[in-house]
Amino acid sequence: MTDKPYDYYIDFVTKRYFHGVDNYDMNMVLDCFHEDATLTEVTSMTVHEGRDAGIKTMFEGFLGAHSRVWHGNFVHTCDTKEASVCSQFSVEVTPHGESEPLRYENCNRFYIKDGKFSSVFIYMSGENLLK
């Protein structure tokens, strides 16, 4: 058993990470990751390494390409013994210059060490947006 309660993991994923992404708060987003964290988009096997390198660059590109980003309809599977959260959710993103959002049904696997993400794995239902 880790020292974090169940609600810590759920709140960390939703109220910090996804809240930060949806509100374009890059500092809040990056603060969720350890410096040596990795983020892998599995459906295209794209690996982003390092909070202040690959992960930051990826989020700059992703947030810069869309006028609106929304994550919701969450169902979480949370394991306090293994310090991991696997989340299913819907994503709506509106590319700049477009009026209609694109919708995806994705999942993320978050592995957490000392309260922050050490590795994140993403599966996307359509084209990889996290290049």
Partner: protein, 132 residues
């Protein structure tokens, strides 16, 4: 949907990894289908493919098992939410095709358990969907 599960942590792992994947790899169709409720649903989320009801799920597995000479699921990493009757596993799937070639996938399954069987299963795949 939130379901009531009767399985503890060890029971969830036993159902998903040993009974389900063990039976898939052994091509034991009856044992695989017995893991599901009659009105269960499998969704391959990355391909937007849905199989509803035990008979449709059985048909899908007949095709899947017939299309591959060897089926291997291994290298499981489990996330278990005992209080909510949910388990997730990431794993490697190795499938030997009829021509002797192999397909390797890095997948993640989400299972939602009602009582002691699968009610909903969601599969996220790294490549083309073989569960058609």
């Amino acid at each position: 949907m939130q379901y009531q599960s009767s399985l503890d942590r060890a029971g969830l792992i036993e159902l998903a990894i040993n009974r389900y994947f063990g039976s898939v790899d052994a091509k034991d169709l009856d044992a695989v289908v017995d893991c599901f409720h009659d009105n269960a649903m499998i969704t391959v989320q990355t391909a937007f493919t849905i199989h509803e009801g035990k008979e449709n799920i059985k048909r899908m597995f007949i095709d899947f098992m017939g299309a591959h000479k060897t089926i291997i699921h291994k290298d499981f990493t489990c996330t278990v939410d005992e209080g909510n009757g949910r388990i997730v596993a990431s794993f490697t799937a190795e499938l030997e095709n009829d021509d002797g070639s192999w397909t390797r996938l890095s997948n993640t399954n989400f299972w939602r358990i009602r009582d002691d069987k699968f009610q909903e299963v969601y599969i996220y795949m790294s490549g083309d969907n073989p569960l058609t």
